[in-house]
């Protein structure tokens, strides 16, 4: 099964309905997705995402290819935003189309675990009191991504 990849990193908002409609149109019968949204709370006013433009797309494409090698997928979409985002903004969409619902859902879980933990992004949090700091890598996220490399 050769998969249709749609991988993008940009500053624009993500058109969830349009992106999922593209995957539906592949005819597999099932499309799973995960959308991440910037959470507020704790006085957070903005999130600033930085990435390495030279390697992000290459790595995202590689992980999408790994997903397509592991599960029978007709299409994979992975879109990540960078730049300044505020609570409520979409930050990431991953989605997969497959004739098998478990495959679509597991591939989506695999992709989002990788994106949330391994993708080459750095996040700076800005708070209402003027403070800001770079988010540290979290061990729990690394473990979630590590589960996948232990499988198959």
């Amino acid at each position: 099964m050769s998969a249709d990849f749609h991988i993008r990193v940009d500053t624009a908002d993500i058109d969830i309905g349009g992106e999922l409609a593209r995957l539906e149109a592949l005819g597999g019968g099932g499309v799973a997705s995960f959308t991440g949204v910037v959470r507020g709370g704790g006085g957070l006013t903005a999130l600033e995402l930085e990435h390495h433009p030279g390697i992000t797309l290459a790595m995202m494409t590689s992980i999408a290819e790994q997903a397509a090698a592991r599960w029978p997928l007709l299409g994979v979409t992975a879109i990540h935003r960078h730049g300044r985002l505020v609570p409520g903004d979409r930050i990431v969409l991953v989605a997969a189309a497959s004739p098998h619902r478990a495959a679509a859902l597991e591939a989506t879980a695999f992709l989002i675990d990788w994106l949330k933990t391994r993708a080459p992004f750095w996040k700076k949090e800005h708070f209402a009191d003027g403070a800001s700091h770079w988010v540290e890598a979290r061990a729990a996220d690394d473990e979630a991504a590590a589960r996948w490399s232990m499988k198959g």
Partner: protein, 85 residues
Amino acid sequence: MPIDILYFAGIREAIGLSAETVTPPPEVGTIADLVGWLASRGAGHAEAFADRARVRAAIGSDFADPDTPIVGAREIALFPPVTGG
């Protein structure tokens, strides 16, 4: 041979540059050597690389370990551990 060095996140902020082109001396053979050499270039550089355990690197589009040779590299990125998206 000049190398383009890219800095990201806190390392970029400490140095005050997102990129610079440098020509390290021949004894700078690995990523670890390069970081040590860059750290001596100024106060910002020293601060950026004070905690070596938190410096990550990529040569071109590939992540690289501290002992990865940099011979032939045209572009090297230095950054803190990625936090994911």
